[in-house]
């Protein structure tokens, strides 16, 4: 066996490491903590400039006091800046949001890992975000990405998924129907906070309406065919009427369909 000296390691250790090897501890320490208060991070913008993405990342790391690991071959590009005025200052979460927006231009997101932060393609955001409850979402940073699980009360999840799919980010946003009638949403927190009230508004209680027809059984059969895939159900009540369960908008169409049948 040929043993080679690990010169790179030695050089790296001597040059770059401050600590020396001691007894190994298998009890894990808490994760890396930033040295600076996030609120102290300030970015002073020029009126107009073009900045390499890598420079912006360096500046962000410097001011924010965090460490970021990334693959330099994939994370690159130039960010064009235009501010209202020379010297405009972005503080704290404004700075975070600014960097998040810049990364999004290149289809990247900044996510927390075990020890530090990393930059991943936006399309992989769903595989790296934290799962938050709606309560936790309220206090989460707007620039970060999150995943929430929403239990629906009334709306049919597949129908709702279709309505929401166009409302999330093309790269990274995710609307996933789940079992039994729940939604999984992945999106940047600021947009997620806007999206959730929309979900609640769409998850409205349906209306039950009764319709008089000549042949209720035949009408129900025809309506089921006509409204296949729509959130509407039909039956015949003991008195021989058609009873439909659907939202108010769809009830109007059902009434028209029954009138056409008669």
């Amino acid at each position: 066996m040929k043993t080679i000296a690990c010169t790179l390691f030695a050089a790296l250790a001597l040059l770059l490491l401050g600590a020396t090897a001691g007894a190994s501890q298998r009890v894990k320490s808490p994760s890396v903590e930033p040295l600076q208060d996030a609120d102290e991070a300030v970015l002073t913008l020029p009126k107009e400039d073009t900045v390499p993405l890598s420079d912006l990342i360096q500046l962000y790391v410097e001011r924010r006091g965090i460490a970021i690991i990334f693959n330099p071959r994939s994370v690159r590009g130039d960010v064009k800046l235009k501010a209202e005025e020379q010297g405009k200052e972005l503080r704290g979460t404004e700075f975070d949001m600014f960097v998040s927006n810049a990364l999004e231009q290149f289809r990247f997101v900044l996510v927390r890992t075990i020890t530090c932060w990393t930059i991943v393609p936006s399309v992989e955001a769903a595989t790296a975000t934290s799962v938050l409850t709606e309560g936790e979402l309220a206090t989460a940073d707007g620039w970060s990405w999150a995943c929430v699980h929403v239990a629906l009360e009334q709306a049919e999840v597949n129908a709702l998924t279709g309505q929401l799919r166009d409302k999330v980010s093309t790269y990274g946003g995710l609307v996933q129907p789940s079992h039994p009638n729940t939604l999984i949403l992945v999106e940047r927190v600021d947009r997620l906070k806007l999206l959730l009230p929309e979900v609640r508004a769409l998850d409205k209680a349906p209306a039950y309406e009764r319709y008089q027809t000549r042949d209720a059984a035949a009408a129900v059969k025809a309506l089921r065919e006509q409204f296949k895939g729509k959130p509407a159900t039909f039956t015949v009540d003991p008195a021989g009427h058609v009873v439909a369960r659907a939202d108010t908008e769809l009830q109007g169409k059902i009434a028209d369909a029954i009138a056409a049948l008669d």
Binding site: P46, Q58, E62, A67, T115, L174, T235
Partner: protein
């Protein structure tokens, strides 16, 4: 802006970790500045040395460089976090380290589910968050196929796997421990949302219970009807309904509409 950054970078010597010479600290590693083009293999050396671990890998496939950017004032990495940092670095190249018979082997992430130890949900909480594992998650209420389909997009690309165990209503999730814990939150929420209960719902006096049962069932939307059972209660003017919680608030509305 560029000038400003350039000036700032002049102050930050490229590729520099600030010294512990000023304040020796055995427990933490202080890193500072921009470290560009660090070979992945150097990170393996660091993890081996600092965490006293042995690594075995194919040097022809495990190659590449990464960039670590830290503030010039420095940031501390606990020495026992070097392995976790290595996992982050390896993930950039779709590799990961798994313990295979006492040695840490570095394997492509797409194959990690063939190496990862298989653990129960209870065992998961005690594991190192940077380790790759396969968790068996038995479901009480939700359907394993449906849960698998819903969560498939949330596992790590090239390596994260979720699959149902047919017949045992269990899902197997293979991913890095920190990710598995996040996914397990969704699994438990889905399982809780699918919890079924059976309740008795009174019918109007003189109602034909069997006919009501049929009509009420037909009125239930598809998302409920898949797991919903409605039958006439024996010897009483009532329906017995088994379903998720939301359905029990829906049943009285349906009965009212049929009166």
């Amino acid at each position: 802006m560029r000038k400003f950054i350039a000036a700032l970078l002049l102050l930050v010597p490229a590729t520099m970790f600030s010294g512990a010479q000023e304040k020796p600290d055995d427990e933490a590693l202080k890193i500072a500045g921009v470290m560009d083009g660090i070979p992945v293999v150097d990170m393996i050396h660091l993890a081996a040395e600092y965490e006293k671990l042995s690594f075995l890998f194919n040097s022809k496939t495990v190659t590449g460089e990464f960039t670590l950017v830290a503030p010039r004032d420095g940031i501390t990495v606990p020495r026992d976090r070097m392995f976790a940092t290595l996992q982050d670095v390896l993930a950039q190249y779709r590799f990961c380290a798994v313990n295979h018979g006492g040695t840490w082997v570095i394997v492509p992430m797409v194959e990690v589910c063939t190496y990862a130890p298989i653990v129960t949900e209870a065992e998961l909480s005690a594991l190192d968050e940077s380790a790759w594992v396969t968790v068996m998650a038995p479901l009480e209420n939700a359907d394993a196929n449906a849960v698998t389909g819903a969560l498939r997009n949330l596992t790590s690309r090239q390596g994260g796997v979720i699959q149902p165990v047919q017949g045992a209503n269990t899902v197997l999730i293979c991913d890095r421990c920190d990710r598995v814990r996040e996914i397990m939150k969704l699994v438990r929420q889905a399982d809780e949302s699918a919890r079924l209960s059976t309740r008795r719902h009174a019918l109007p006096a003189g109602a034909d219970a069997d006919k009501y049962a049929q009509s009420v069932f037909e009125l239930m939307p598809t998302q409920f009807s898949r797991s919903c059972m409605v039958t006439a209660a024996p010897g009483g003017n009532a329906l017995l309904v088994t379903g998720v919680e939301a359905i029990h608030s829906e049943i009285p509305l349906a009965i009212e509409a049929l009166k």
